[in-house]
């Protein structure tokens, strides 16, 4: 029943724009999310006297900057109709590779390059399996999720890499100026780049086209597999970058590093209004979602709420933000 219904409503959405741009903007997911973010911000500042402090807020950005770096690429990937659940494991593998290079006595540039290249290679591996062999990305990346982290476990066992060079700490612990951290700067630059790529370039158009109808995209001359492969590469590269930042911030590598982070990244992307079925979503939405998640976890942290209870909030947020509009629609229809 519901299948037929959704198809009917989808078919009716032919007009590109009916309401005025302003009304559209106000009613959009992004503005709703922005309201939520502001609401949480105000609640937090009442809940804890330590919240409204530039240095504390600057620390709070670490809650989301690394995840958001991956979330940008993941947003494009999910819009194109694929998913990558191996991102947290890529972080582990890239971090392990960086640890090996560090132990071999190389300096910071080589360590960073290793992290990024490992990420790229992992992304390429996922991409080849999905686009060349035509395998479903969810299965492939569930497999590589075990494989990549498994390799880290083989290398490290229950040990850890420590003793990264002191200038390596700049990425995760450094400041550009005042309270603006290096990670926050990277986050901001990436937000702009990904926003432009997705919303202002042919490539971004192609991503939407593939997500809506891959067959039609193929017939309109888009090289579907190549675009998807590039998206897997990007997701791998971003995971490598996040690995550089996270390893630099923690100053050590364990095989369990960033475990479970893939869920938070996917939550961030979905919370940002990207349809998990592909075809729609925006970068501003993901940016606001990153702030929402960062503010929620930071606020709860100030209130001494344990991490696992925060994960309940994140899980409920994930289901809630998708369920509420649908419940509202159902109520309006009856």
């Amino acid at each position: 029943m519901s299948l037929a219904e959704t198809q009917k409503t989808a078919a009716r959405h032919i007009p590109d724009r009916l309401t005025t741009p302003l009304a559209r903007t106000l009613k959009s997911w992004e503005s709703l999310l922005l309201l939520v973010a502001i609401g949480i911000f105000i609640l937090n500042s009442f809940a804890s006297p330590y919240f409204l402090n530039a240095w504390n807020l600057s620390d709070a950005t670490f809650n989301f900057t690394e995840k958001a770096m991956i979330a940008f690429a993941m947003a494009l990937l999910i819009i194109s109709g694929e998913i990558d659940l191996s991102v947290a494991s890529i972080i582990a593998l890239a971090s392990t590779a960086m640890g090996l290079v560090m132990q071999a006595g190389f300096g910071t540039p080589a360590i960073v390059a290793t992290g990024l290249v490992t990420g790229l290679l992992c992304g390429a591996f996922n991409g080849v399996l999905v686009t060349r062999l035509g395998l479903p990305s969810i299965v492939v990346t569930i497999g590589t999720m075990s494989l990549f982290r498994g390799i880290s476990y083989i290398v490290l066992g229950d040990g850890a890499f420590r003793g990264y060079p002191s200038d390596f700490a700049w990425f995760g612990q450094g400041y550009v100026f005042w309270v603006i951290t290096v990670e926050l700067m990277i986050f901001a630059i990436l937000a702009v780049i990904y926003g432009i790529v997705l919303h202002k370039t042919n490539f971004g158009r192609a991503v939407y086209a593939i997500g809506n109808n891959a067959t039609a995209a193929t017939f309109s001359g888009i090289r579907v597999e190549r675009v998807k492969f590039i998206l897997f590469l990007l997701t791998g590269l971003m995971s490598g970058l996040a690995s550089v930042c996270l390893t630099s911030r923690l100053g050590s590598t364990r095989p369990s590093i960033a475990s479970g982070m893939e869920l938070e990244v996917v939550t961030m992307v979905v919370l940002g209004g990207v349809s998990i079925l592909g075809g729609s979503g925006s970068i501003p939405g993901v940016v606001i979602a990153a702030f929402v998640m960062g503010l929620v976890t930071f606020g709860l942290g100030l209130l001494n709420v344990p991490g696992i209870v925060m994960s309940i909030v994140v899980g409920a947020l994930l289901i809630g933000v998708i369920a509420l509009p649908r419940i509202y629609q159902n109520l309006r229809r009856t």
């Binding site: 519901s2 035509g134 083989i154 597999e225 079925l277 994140v314 899980g315």
Partner: protein, 325 residues
């Protein structure tokens, strides 16, 4: 059909080859008593893989099974601590009911609110685990707090096989019947094969998916009690990450993640394959740290192999269009 049969035959061959390889280095591994032990150890994975099979068959996925298992197991353990007199059959019924309830929550969100299953179960996975923490404040329920009847049930030996193993056999038989002999089983295949066609034949797609989640949840709940009773300990993180092993068992068993293709035998064989690897690694002196990478590689190899075998031989008009599907 011959293709499906050959796929399972290949899996049986792979399992036998695996056993032969291990036996060549450590003959004790293939003695009947050890094989029974390996089967019993794999029983939870078999039960969960069968539940997951039904869900994947209907084009969904249930990533919350391990969290469901942990929560139900913890509730059973807490009840046993508070009321040691509650008999085991009541606890088993309670585990089935509680698991089914959690499955129903997943199924309801998928059915009535049409939220994609992966999103729903990613969310409920963290919520269920979080609830365990709220119930216990992170404390453990240890062996000495549990009654002996509670711990003895899955270990009870009947005809040489512990109850845990028998339950896996029983679940396999029941699901075998449901999938092949009931309209519900047929509906699962219809919904997975072609949901649009299923609607036109009068099958309620959402309701069928809901029932698949209830079955998966019920089996996860049952496994929850068995798990906690067998290992005689309950804490927040039991069976952490086990949902991936369950999905892996299904994929290795030839169950198509796109839905519509699944066999009971495939799920059981896939679970056995992983279970034998897990039990064989320490025997042949491979560090247990290898296990994660090996099961990851097994998933990738299995899914590559399955897609090769399942590719249709129809005329290809536009090659890349076929890939894009």
């Amino acid at each position: 059909m011959t293709l499906l049969k050959s796929r399972e035959a290949i899996l049986v061959g792979a399992i036998l080859l695996l056993l032969a390889l291990v036996a060549s280095r450590f003959p004790g591994f293939v003695t009947p008593s050890n094989l029974v032990a390996v089967f019993t150890d794999t029983a939870p994975l078999i039960i969960l893989a069968l539940g997951q099979m039904v869900v994947i068959l209907t084009r969904s996925i249930d990533l919350s099974v391990a969290a469901n298992l942990a929560l139900t197991g913890m509730v059973c353990a807490l009840i046993n601590v508070a009321f040691p007199g509650v008999p085991v059959p009541v606890l088993v019924a309670l585990a089935l009911g509680l698991g089914a309830l959690m499955g129903a929550i997943n199924g309801f969100l998928v059915w009535k609110l049409t939220i994609p299953p992966i999103v729903v179960t990613l969310g409920t996975m963290t919520i269920f685990r979080g609830i365990i923490f709220l119930l216990t404040n992170g404390s453990w329920v240890n062996s000495h707090q549990m009654s002996s009847a509670f711990k003895a049930f899955p270990r009870e030996n009947i005809l040489g096989l512990p109850v845990l193993g028998w339950i896996a056999v029983l679940v396999t038989l029941i699901l075998g019947l449901v999938m092949s002999r009931t309209t519900l089983g047929r509906a699962f295949f219809a919904v997975g094969g072609n949901p649009h066609a299923a609607v036109y034949t009068g099958i309620n797609v959402g309701r069928t998916q809901f029932l698949a989640f209830v079955i998966s949840g019920m089996l996860a709940g049952l496994t929850g009690y068995l798990w906690v009773a067998r290992y005689a300990v309950a804490y927040v993180d039991i069976a952490g990450g086990f949902e991936l092993d369950v999905v892996a068992a299904c994929v290795i068993g030839g169950i198509s993640i796109a839905g519509g293709v699944a066999t009971v035998a495939g799920a059981v064989l896939g679970a056995l394959f992983l279970g034998i690897i897990k039990n064989a690694l320490p025997v042949i002196d491979v560090s247990p740290f290898w296990q994660l990478a090996i099961s990851g590689a097994a998933i990738i190899i299995a899914v590559t192999f399955n897609s090769r075998a399942g590719r249709s031989k129809g005329r290809v008009i536009l090659k890349s269009a076929e890939h894009a599907q």
